[in-house]
Symmetry: C2
Subunit: 225 residues, 2 copies
C-alpha cells in the first residue's frame, strides 16, 4: 500500500470537487438563488435552527425556500421539514461522512426546476469531515450548541476556520452550563477566523433569529450592489 497514492487520490477528489462547486455556485447566483451550507455535530440543533430561521425569513411575503436534508440514513429530519410545508429533498449518503458535489447536484436536480430565493443544505452531523468538502454554496455556517461546551473551538479548529458564521445554539441552556465561557469561545474563534460572524440563538425562545436573518439578507443584497 503506497501512502503517496492515498494522498494523491484525496487531492484529486478535492480538486475535482472544488471545480464542480465553483461552477454550481456561479449557476445558482445567475438564478439569484442563495445557497447556504449548515454544518455542526449530531444534535447541535440544525433542523430546529433551520425551521426557526425559515419562519423568520418567511415574514417577507412571497419568499421561496427549499431545503436539502442530508443524512447517513433515515428521513427523520426530512420529515420534520416536509411537515412544516417546506419543499425539500432527502439526500441519503448511505454511511458517507460528508456531502460532495456529485450528491449535491443529484439532490438539486430532484427539485426538477423549482425556483428558490434561498436553498439550505443541512449537512451530515459531523464537526470534522464536512469542513474539507465544498458543496457549491454561497455561504457556510456552523452550529455549536451550549451543551457541547465552548472548548470545541480548541479541539475542532478546521471547521471554525472555514465558515462565515458561528451560530451558538441552545442558549436557553446557558444557566445550566456555568462553565460555558462565551467570551473565551469568541476570542478563540476570532483568532482562527478574524472575519467570523458570531450569533447567540435559541430555537426554543426565538432569541437571535432576527439578527441571523438580517445578516443572511445582507449577504444576498450585496450581490446587487
Amino acid at each position: 500500500m503506497n501512502e503517496s497514492l492515498v494522498i494523491e487520490v484525496k487531492q484529486d477528489i478535492l480538486e475535482g470537487n472544488d471545480r464542480a462547486a465553483d461552477e454550481f455556485r456561479r449557476q445558482r447566483k445567475e438564478e439569484n438563488m442563495f445557497l447556504m451550507d449548515v454544518m455542526g455535530s449530531p444534535g447541535a440543533g440544525k433542523t430546529s435552527f433551520l425551521l426557526a430561521l425559515i419562519d423568520q425569513l418567511c415574514k417577507d411575503p412571497g419568499i421561496r425556500i427549499g431545503v436539502i436534508e442530508a443524512d447517513l440514513e433515515s428521513d427523520v429530519d426530512a420529515r420534520k421539514i416536509k411537515e412544516a410545508g417546506i419543499p425539500s429533498v432527502e439526500l441519503n449518503t448511505r454511511g458517507i461522512c460528508h456531502v460532495e458535489m456529485g450528491m449535491m447536484q443529484k439532490a438539486y436536480a430532484a427539485f426538477a426546476g423549482m425556483e428558490f430565493d434561498w436553498l439550505f443544505l443541512e449537512n451530515i452531523g459531523n464537526l470534522v469531515c464536512p469542513a474539507d468538502f465544498d458543496t457549491g454554496c454561497h455561504s457556510r455556517i456552523m452550529l455549536l450548541s451550549v451543551p457541547e461546551g465552548w472548548d470545541k473551538v480548541c479541539k475542532y479548529p478546521p471547521m471554525f476556520a472555514v465558515v462565515d458564521a458561528l451560530i451558538v445554539t441552545k442558549c436557553d441552556y446557558l444557566p445550566l452550563n456555568p462553565d460555558f465561557d462565551m467570551n473565551a469561545l469568541r476570542e478563540h474563534a476570532r483568532v482562527l477566523n478574524p472575519q467570523l460572524e458570531i450569533f447567540e440563538t435559541s430555537a426554543r425562545t426565538g432569541e437571535g433569529f432576527d439578527k441571523v436573518a438580517a445578516w443572511l439578507k445582507s449577504r444576498k443584497d450585496s450581490w446587487n450592489e
Copy 2:
C-alpha cells in the same frame, strides 16, 4: 479519476488496519491489559465519563489505569486527565477524523513499557468515521448525551451497530428534554445490535457508574474463565 481505484484504496487501508488491530489486541491480552475505545460526538461527555469511570475502578486498590487522548488539535482533554493524576498520552491526529492502528501503536509506545490493567482510548469526537476503524481494543463503547436527542440512533446507525455498549450520558438533563424517548432509543438500538448493553449515566450525579464498572470488570474476568 477512477472511482474503483478509490474504493480499492479504502479497502486496502481497512484490511491492513484490521490485521494490525488483531495482532495488537492479542499482544495486550497476553499482558492482561484490557483496552477500551470510547467514541461519541463532540461534547457527548467522553472526558467526564472517563474521569468518573476511573474514579469508580480505582476503588479496587492497586489498579493501574492509562488513557490515550485523541484530538484533532489541542491538549484540552489530555490536560484534564493529567490533572487527575492519570498517566496519559496525547494523540494529535492533525485534522484526521478518526484513529488508525499506526497512530495507536505510536501512542502506546509513548508509555515506554508502563503496565496497566485498563487502558482507555478517548477517540476523536465524531459519530461517523471512527466506527469504520478498528483501534485494536478489546471493547468499543459509544456515548450519546441526552441533549443530542434520542433520534441519533436512526440517523447514525453504523456506530450503534459496531459497539458493545451504549452509554447514555448527561441523564441529569432528562427533565429538561421531555422529547428524549429512552424507550424508543433502547428499542431502535437493539434492532441494530441485539447484544448491545445500555447504561444510563450522569457524570454530575455519579448515576450509573457502578453498573458500567461492574460490566467492564466482568468483561475482563471472562478472560480467565
